[in-house]
């Protein structure tokens, strides 16, 4: 039964319904795969007891004939989600030993739907990073390797463990979160599908906060149909998050017709970056041709403020992070530094935060502190918020002009070597150049694998949709997925 972990959510759901397989068998297959894959660094806290207990309960519910789609499906949960009684430390030393007394709304919804939590997944510390190299647990590793190479590659970040686990078939799907590209970039680096919903679709309650106006949870899956199924189970209004939207969540799966005839797909000229690799350029034009063949109309569009998205993000996200991370003070939860004779409360704060946070987190907290400090608030923070309004206006205008979805590359390159970009934070930030605009404008975006580069590494395209229209977006992604026919899998070396 070792192959069961390779199933998609859709296949597993149908097999469970038919009685061809049990959730206990599926779950055991995943747990075996996880135990054999420590070299990937994907699962950082395994919860086999919770998993087997929930799997047995799911089997009973399925037998009763009244089970939601996610019932009995084994999934991994990013370490950023607070899960009751299971370690949840946002890959940070400062939350070492933290055992939440509560369950995040999103992981709780999955649990209530009968999904089986296998464990917690690696990530960049506090979701700050694009390579999963800032984690206190160490690196997560991409199951993909270049042809004839044994060089370890990044699975991307911040949801690197989630992407690695899904690509390596350690679980059927995983949760991710996306503040600037943290679902879509790792999905593109691992040949998987990653959906960032519209801001406000998923409750942020119980998810460790990074940048509250940008953070959004979403599914990371093997197929677009799986993203539709799991996404619907994660979304919905929650009174505990005042920014969560009180509108119905449609049956996304029922909207997957693959028919996109007459839809207008925008191709933004500003995403044709200088120095863009020819392979990415070709992937993009091939994807556009596929959508055209499927009956969509292509239209060249302009999003003139695109180049200002990353600099605006690197003001707004650190500003919000410096405020959100102020709570880690060694008083209420997590790590407290050992103090010297005579140390008072200020020394406790300063030592705890110096020892508990990693370098990138400290860097962003301090940048955020600076841009919010007296005398600089207007010049940096308020200016960035004005630029953010312009970036959103760019999208509003193209959607008003009749564009249904926008097609762009998901990343500027394929997965890169671990350790390669650590030295230069600004170089690392450029990974999010195609994804960050979507967070600033609060839009839904999805990464779909559509090809391989010359080294045999997966590459993905991004589709961006209108706000709240994840169903339409998923259908366009489904059409792209069908046309691209991406079926490659990493060769098992771990």
């Amino acid at each position: 039964m070792s192959e069961l972990s390779k199933l998609t959510i859709t296949e597993a759901r149908d097999a469970l319904r038919k009685g061809d397989v049990t959730s206990v068998e599926l779950t055991q297959s995943c747990l075996n795969a996880i135990d054999a894959a420590d070299a990937l660094g994907a699962f950082v806290h395994k919860t086999p007891e919770i998993a087997m207990e929930r799997a047995a309960a799911a089997d009973a519910q399925i037998k009763s004939g009244d089970a939601p789609d996610m019932c009995g499906i084994p999934v991994g949960i990013k370490d950023l989600f607070c899960t009751q009684g299971a370690p949840s430390q946002a890959a940070s030393k400062i939350l070492e030993g933290f055992l939440p007394e509560y369950e995040s709304t999103v992981s709780g919804k999955l649990k209530d739907a009968g999904a089986v939590m296998l464990g917690k997944l690696n990530m960049d510390e506090f979701a700050m990073g694009s390579s999963n190299e800032t984690s206190v647990y160490g690196n997560a590793i991409n199951p993909w390797r270049g042809a004839g190479s044994d060089t370890a590659l990044t699975p991307g970040g911040s949801s690197g463990g989630s992407a690695s686990a899904v690509a390596a078939d350690l679980c059927l799907a995983a949760t991710g979160t996306d503040t600037g590209g943290s679902i879509r970039q790792p999905a593109a680096f691992t040949g998987t599908v990653g959906l960032k919903p519209t801001y406000g679709r998923c409750s942020r309650w119980g998810i460790v906060a990074f940048a509250s106006s940008l953070d959004q949870a979403g599914p990371m899956t093997k197929t677009v149909r799986d993203a539709a199924i799991m996404g619907a189970a994660m979304m919905g209004h929650d009174a505990k998050d005042s920014t969560s939207m009180d509108i119905p969540v449609p049956d996304f799966e029922a909207m997957l017709t693959g028919d996109i005839r007459g839809k207008v797909i925008g191709i933004p000229k500003e995403y044709r970056m200088e120095g863009m690799p020819a392979e990415i350029e070709k992937l993009w034009s091939d994807g556009a041709a596929m959508l055209k063949d499927a009956g969509a109309e292509l239209r060249d569009i302009s999003l003139p403020h695109t180049k200002y998205a990353l600099p605006a993000y690197y003001v707004i996200a650190p500003a919000e992070a410096s405020s959100n991370l102020a709570r880690y003070d060694g008083v209420r939860f997590g790590y407290r530094a050992a103090l010297s004779q005579g140390d008072g409360i200020t020394e406790m704060y300063e030592k705890t935060r110096a020892e508990g946070f990693g370098d990138e987190v400290k860097r962003r907290v301090m940048v955020g502190t600076y841009v919010l400090s007296a005398g600089f608030y207007d010049a940096y923070y308020n200016r960035a918020r004005r630029v953010r309004a312009l970036i959103k206006r760019d999208f509003d205008e193209v959607f008003a002009a009749g564009i249904d979805a926008i097609l762009t590359p998901a990343t500027p390159s394929a997965a890169f070597e671990l350790g390669k970009e650590v030295a230069d934070p600004v170089e690392m930030y450029l990974n999010d150049v195609f994804t960050v605009t979507v967070n600033l404008a609060g839009l839904p975006g999805i990464a779909v694998p559509t090809g391989l580069d010359a080294n045999g590494l997966p590459l993905g395209l991004q589709l961006i949709g209108r706000p709240w229209e994840e169903g339409e977006l998923l259908n366009a992604a489904y059409a792209l997925e069908n046309a691209a026919g991406f079926v490659a899998k990493p060769n098992k070396w771990w």
């Binding site: 801001y199 200002y308 600099p311 103090l339 409360i345 004005r386 309004a389 959103k392």
Partner: protein, 95 residues
């Protein structure tokens, strides 16, 4: 705007993160690299643009101003590095 060592020390203090004196020059250098990247925002004329407060045009929901939760002292203190007699315990705050 260039950040000197003194400013870097001030920011670290404001953020309540201890930074050793010998690490301040490197920190100031990193700040300058990031702020240099951010400087591009000055190319835009944004005088007539309102700063964005919410990306979705919705009024935040309100609820009745009543107690909805409470009596969870044990759960609240369960993760404290140090708790005593129902309180969080910290080093002395005042001389």
């Amino acid at each position: 705007m260039s950040i000197d060592i003194e400013t870097a020390a001030k920011v670290a203090k404001l953020a309540r993160i201890k930074v050793e004196a010998e690490d301040l020059p490197a920190l100031a250098g990193e700040f300058n690299a990031i702020l240099g990247f951010i400087e591009q925002l000055n190319e835009l004329d944004v005088d007539d643009i309102e700063p964005m407060t919410s990306v979705t045009p919705q009024r935040l929901k309100q609820r009745d101003d009543v107690v909805t939760d409470g009596n969870q002292q044990t759960a609240v203190l369960a993760n404290a590095p140090e708790a005593r007699e129902g309180f969080f315990a910290v080093p002395k705050v005042m001389e």
